[in-house]
């Protein structure tokens, strides 16, 4: 039960903090959130700076504790988040690093780390959401190529991506988890059509993607043919691990801002609101401690986060939505003004209990994998 950081970890923190203080004032202004090419350029420029300073592979090669420190310090300093590089750095990259051949790692990882190439994710389909393993996009072998046809949905950054981590069905006769393969698809291949989808927040955060006889080299398959489900689980466990560290830090800062705003506009005098903010603060403090517990566990067991990430996400996603509901109470009628930051954030937060595995699916995972209850509906 030791919460103190080692001398080496503290040195890592101090060096990072000094670098952030020097580099952040030199960044260009943030781009218009609706201008995707500009956002890509901005996010990749930031990744390039991280790369040149030696922080590019912090998500993969650093220890879980260093990753925790990195995410904490960058958020505290107000540095950009991974943005368009989310899939490359936190999904596809770790998967290729863990499951790819030496040649595949050499081809795809350096451009991600340098901020030269952007990846998107082609997992979900209109008929395969929570039941991802029922996906139907088919890949038929033709010599050295797969011929891929089907439809994908909720593909973030599709318009500006160079590569797509694509799940396809290579054996339609096998049980559903056993006929899937993981392919790297170039987004400029003939037959790929991207159509943006507008979210309830009004922005085009993601897209649907139509694949019409797209030819993908067999050498672009990571892992064995029909072993893509296992390969994918490696990816998803990364997403449910330390991916939310920066956001917990951000929520704790937001609570401070909320309290300041409430003191200014008088809503702080309402004990119901005040106590609600107190409870939320206790919850985010505990979520931070739970993160430290999960990171300590990951550090000891070799790095891949386990089902503890599901426990964390279940409470975090709910608490963060509650945070924006409390923000709306502080704002009063101004909560209806889209010009206020918290209004857009409140809208965006509605996805947290859905994206990366709905809360209902997370509860199944917790019940079956941790508590040992039987699989079933």
């Amino acid at each position: 039960m030791d919460l103190a950081y080692s001398a080496e970890e503290e040195e890592f923190r101090a060096r990072l903090r000094a670098w952030l203080a020097a580099v952040l004032p030199t960044l260009p202004p943030r781009p218009d959130p609706l201008d995707w090419p500009a956002r890509r350029a901005y996010d990749c420029g930031w990744q390039r700076r991280l790369h040149d300073a030696g922080y590019a592979d912090v998500h993969w090669d650093a220890s879980p504790t260093q990753r925790l420190i990195f995410l904490e310090e960058t958020e505290l300093a107000g540095a950009p988040y991974v943005g368009a590089n989310f899939v490359g750095l936190l999904h596809a990259g770790p998967t290729i690093a863990a499951e790819g051949t030496a040649a595949q790692r050499e081809r795809w990882l350096p451009p991600v780390l340098r901020g030269d190439e952007v990846w998107c994710q082609g997992f979900s389909e209109p008929e395969a959401g929570s039941d991802l393993a029922s996906l139907r996009t088919k890949a038929v072998r033709d010599g050295d190529e797969y011929v891929v046809s089907g439809q994908k949905i909720w593909t973030s950054h599709a318009e500006v991506a160079d590569w797509c981590e694509l799940l396809v069905r290579t054996d339609p006769t096998a049980p559903k988890h056993r006929g899937i393969s993981w392919l790297a698809m170039p987004m400029d291949a003939p037959g790929v059509t991207v159509r943006p989808l507008r979210t309830l927040a009004g922005s085009t955060e993601f897209a649907e993607m139509f694949l019409d006889e797209v030819r993908i080299p067999v050498g672009n398959r990571v892992g064995d043919e029909n072993d893509g489900w296992r390969v994918t689980m490696v990816t998803l466990s990364f997403e449910r691990g330390t991916a939310f560290v920066g956001e917990v830090v951000a929520c704790r800062r937001l609570l401070g801002e909320l309290a300041r705003a409430a003191r200014e506009n008088g809503t702080w005098d309402d004990p119901v609101l005040r106590r609600r903010l107190g409870r939320l603060s206790a919850e985010f403090q505990a979520l931070w401690r739970l993160t430290q517990a999960n990171v300590s566990e990951a550090q000891a067991t070799g790095g891949v986060p386990g089902a503890g990430g599901s426990v964390f996400k279940l409470h975090y996603s709910h608490a963060r939505q509650e945070l924006y509901e409390a923000a709306a109470t502080v704002l009063g009628p101004d909560a209806l003004d889209l010009g206020r930051d918290w209004t857009l954030d409140r809208l965006s937060s509605l996805s947290y209990t859905i994206a990366a595995g709905t809360s209902q699916i997370q509860r199944n995972i917790v019940a079956e994998r941790i508590l040992g209850l039987p699989k079933g509906r």
Binding site: D2, Y5, L290, L314, Q360
Partner: protein, 293 residues
């Protein structure tokens, strides 16, 4: 940073769990419910095992351990619903003769309530005018002290905070135990031709229980390390919530059996209600945390 239990801490937890299984098994629990009294022999055995002297320095005859070890101890006590004014006696071990050895039973007034007043040898705090209540918890006799409520502000340090933390640890133990009870029952009870633990409606209740218990456990352990007053207040809040809500859900999973006197579920719920009212109840804990924002 390594927030996991050390090898020694794991050994301590295992030892305490085995000790309590021997000293206070389910038969002893139900006998205590029926008798309503405090078992002095059990109290002395706890004393002999170092339960009260855990944090006293070795040169004073104690075990020489700290708050992180103490919360592990009280978590185990909460799991088995160990009765008696454990927190008050543990905290008096350094100052009151006989407390460390379990020869003396010490209780204290908190939030207008005094547990175990008639059984105690020493009572801390002003309890003049104390009136007996018909306590909702068959394992915690209570007196009401008119006009005595907790201070408006949490003390920066001191006994009240440690008492709140140890009480929170007991709540986490209870929350973990009711999760285990619900899961065990859901795996054996059959309806509609299958165990009810296979139904999502039941599974999701159980998963929610685990989330509450794990969050509160992380909070309790961290607060034991930092001893930060605001962190302790927030911890008490989450631990109270975990214990009471988990007991409620455990009762629900047990169905009609959960509503019986015979099942142990109600004992967890009632004790959780009592602990939630002692040492920083929710309203004040929330205010304490909010004040730091």
């Amino acid at each position: 940073m390594d927030f996991r239990l050390t090898e020694d801490q794991r050994a301590l937890r295992k030892g305490v769990r085995e000790l309590l299984a021997r000293l206070f098994d389910r038969e002893a629990l139900r006998a205590a419910v029926d008798s309503g009294g405090l078992d002095r022999e059990l109290w002395r055995e706890l004393g002999a095992a170092g339960f009260f002297a855990l944090r006293l320095p070795e040169e004073e005859g104690g075990v020489g351990l700290g708050l992180p070890e103490a919360v592990l101890l009280f978590e185990e006590a909460g799991r088995v619903l160990l009765p008696g004014p454990l927190v008050a006696t543990h905290m008096a071990a350094g100052s009151l003769r006989g407390a460390a050895e379990g020869e003396v039973v010490v209780t204290s007034a908190s939030e207008g309530l005094v547990p175990w007043l008639d059984e105690a040898d020493v009572v801390l705090g002003d309890v003049s005018g104390a009136v007996p209540m018909r306590s909702v918890d068959p394992l915690t006799p209570l007196h009401r002290v008119p006009g005595l409520v907790g201070p408006a502000e949490v003390p920066a340090a001191g006994d009240g905070l440690v008492a709140a933390l140890l009480t929170a640890a007991e709540q986490v133990g209870s929350a973990g135990r009711t999760t285990d009870m619900a899961v065990a029952y859901a795996r054996e009870r059959t309806q509609f031709g299958q165990v009810i633990g296979g139904f999502q409606a039941v599974k999701h209740l159980c998963a929610g229980m685990l989330v509450r218990a794990e969050l509160a456990r992380a909070a309790v352990r961290a607060a034991a390390v930092t001893a930060d007053p605001v962190e302790i207040a927030g911890t008490k809040l989450l631990a109270d919530e975990a214990a009471t809500a988990n007991a409620r859900d455990c009762l629900q999973v047990h169905g009609g059996m959960g509503f019986t006197w015979e099942a142990d579920v109600h004992l967890h719920l009632k004790r959780a209600w009592v602990r939630a009212e002692l040492w920083l109840p929710a309203a004040r804990a929330e205010e304490v945390v909010a004040a730091r924002l």
